[in-house]
């Protein structure tokens, strides 16, 4: 599966309070959450992000709370994936459970600038920065996680397996 879009670039330790501030957690409606996504560090993101775009960030992306509202908001915003140096563990879990693909690609992250056009092949573990004309490899996500993403998240995965059994 190839994902294509342009990069929205952020720094290290992007926490769940800026991905979706707690003042909006009295709702779990994806569209409403998406309208406030990244609001406290980038007021333009929610209104300007285009379907397929990538969030690109430094280390420890998604640190803080266990709120699933964070990957829900990102997915509903239209972003196709998050690429970072590393992820906080609960966010990592939640993203796959929600069917939002995320990748750890440290070398690529360092050189990507805001607005660069990217193409990502999840299975091969490759990322092409079309703007800069450079290609990078990263450890592909494990098959179990890929199945989660392909199924659209943990619940669909469980439901599918139940049907199959």
């Amino acid at each position: 599966m190839e994902l294509r879009g342009k990069a929205w670039k952020y720094g290290d330790d992007v926490d769940t309070d800026v991905i979706i501030p707690a003042r909006y957690l009295n709702s779990s409606d994806p569209a409403e959450l998406a309208s406030h996504c990244m609001e406290d560090i980038d007021a333009s993101f929610a209104s300007k992000v285009v379907s397929g775009d990538f969030i690109v960030a430094g280390k420890n992306f998604g640190c803080g709370s266990s709120r699933e509202h964070a990957p829900i908001a990102i997915k509903a915003s239209g972003a196709s994936a998050v690429i970072a140096r590393s992820f906080a563990r609960i966010f990592y879990r939640n993203a796959f459970n929600m069917g939002l693909p995320i990748f750890e690609a440290p070398d690529a992250v360092d050189e990507i600038e805001a607005g660069d056009r990217l193409a990502v092949d999840m299975e091969r573990g490759s990322l092409r920065n079309e703007t800069k004309g450079k290609e990078y490899r990263f450890t592909p996500i494990p098959p179990f996680m890929r199945e989660l993403v392909a199924a659209g998240g943990l619940l669909n995965y469980i439901a599918k397996r139940k049907k199959g059994a």
């Binding site: 266990s66 609960i90 879990r93 939640n94 943990l154 619940l155």
Partner: protein, 420 residues
């Protein structure tokens, strides 16, 4: 190969003799937890599975603590959904306003979490129960839904960071200062994906309340869990509370640790974390002049009776500074009552502080003490991210309860020794 505390508990719950770091396991859970922010999504997910019964009505806890007492209509709807779900499925441990508390203080105090347990909760501070020598970790709502249905969770076995504590802490140094010091040393991702396991003779000088504070903030170093060995203090706390029989787990002498660090508790002074990350720590003596607008004492980190005693001892007979609002949040109804009986509540209210019913409220910028643009708070809570307590241009400083109380009197960040 020897097992660390975390590995041993995970192995037992996976029905295995041993597990190795990096392995994916399917483990049985002893308790699953949700709150009013995370449960509504979990309940929708649970229903979408077509599930009509939970795996065990006694082993699920639902606590409405974040936006309660309901702050607005949407919050009221969320809690209503949770309440009706609990009633419909006969969930034994649903806690209502007036009988509740902040989840991570309430559940161990009620004996619903016991030593040796494996607990997951849809709240990042679920790691708190490691103080009891249990494995507990935060997950998302979808994991909670799956666990309520199956009684199981998939987990990756973590490596373990061993933290050896020695010495006795000086006056005014509390568990909060120890954990802030450690996070300052290793960083907010210093224990990413790892277990933090405490060891050493310094543990004997740490009360259970302090151990809860330290395990609670393991997530602030990126850890999967934080865990203390079982000792006389653990036994004294658990016996008489535990609602289930418990098993004492010990680490093997030849357990393999990925890394070891040591902390001399006697060398520490109170620590303050500056905005906007818990790793931005400074010893109290190097804080400088930081005027404040608000002081918060409470939360799953520091809302226990010992914390209120510590703050009350400093504030008693003194007044909250003219330019400061001080807010006190006992973590449970039981602690609220105890604070009343001991005269702590009177000390706070006489000093000019507000004393609230239990709620997570201001810790996450939910309600009950939101900061305006440019305002600054010192708080005994766990996070000081951008916008955490209100406006994105407000600031939160983290400290222990004694320093928070002294700061309320001084009108700037300072310690009890600076008070006249």
């Amino acid at each position: 190969m020897g097992l660390t505390l975390t590995q041993k508990i995970l192995a037992r719950h996976a029905g295995r003799k041993g597990v190795a770091p990096g392995e994916l396991i399917l483990a049985k859970i002893d308790l699953a937890l949700g709150n009013d922010v995370t449960s509504p999504i979990a309940i929708q997910a649970f229903r979408s599975l077509g599930a009509t019964a939970v795996f065990d009505r006694e082993r699920i806890a639902l606590v409405a603590d974040h936006f309660t007492p309901n702050k607005d209509i949407k919050s009221a709807e969320q809690v209503k959904l949770m309440r009706e779900f609990a009633k419909e499925l006969g969930i034994a441990n649903y806690f209502e306003v007036g009988r509740m508390g902040i989840e991570h203080v309430l559940l161990p105090d009620e004996g619903l979490v016991v030593p040796g347990d494996l607990v997951i909760g849809a709240d990042s501070h679920t790691c708190t129960y490691g103080a009891l020598c249990a494995f507990s970790t935060g997950v998302g709502s979808t994991d909670l839904a799956a666990a309520m249905f199956s009684g199981e969770v998939w987990l990756k076995v973590p490596e373990t960071l061993r933290i050896v504590l020695s010495g006795r802490p000086a006056k005014w140094v509390e568990g909060k200062d120890v954990i802030l010091h450690i996070i300052g040393e290793i960083g907010v991702d210093g224990a990413l994906y790892r277990a933090m396991e405490y060891a050493g003779d310094g543990i004997a000088h740490l009360s259970m309340a302090w151990r809860f504070t330290m395990a609670n903030m393991a997530i602030e170093a990126g850890a999967k869990n934080g865990i203390f060995p079982f000792d006389a203090a653990t036994k004294a706390y658990a016996d008489g509370r535990a609602k289930r029989k418990y098993e004492v787990v010990t680490a093997d002498p030849d357990a393999r640790y990925a890394e070891e660090i040591s902390v001399d508790l006697s060398a520490l002074e109170p620590v303050v974390a500056f905005p906007h990350l818990p790793e931005n720590t400074r010893p109290l003596s190097q804080v400088g002049n930081v005027p404040i607008d608000q002081v918060v004492v409470g939360s799953c980190t520091n809302g226990r009776i010992e914390d209120l005693r510590s703050a009350a001892a400093v504030i008693r007979g003194r007044k909250v500074h003219d330019g400061v609002r001080m807010l006190i949040f006992p973590a449970t109804q039981e602690i609220y009552l105890q604070a009343m009986r001991e005269g702590l509540m009177e000390a706070f209210v006489t000093a000019g502080a507000a004393f609230s019913t239990p709620t997570c409220g201001p810790c996450l910028g939910g309600h009950m003490g939101i900061l305006a643009k440019g305002e600054r708070a010192i708080s005994t809570t766990n996070r000081n991210f951008v916008g955490r307590m209100g406006h994105p241009e407000s600031e939160v400083y983290l400290s222990n309860p004694a320093v928070a109380a002294a700061s309320a009197v001084l009108g700037r960040i300072g310690g009890p020794d600076e008070l006249p």
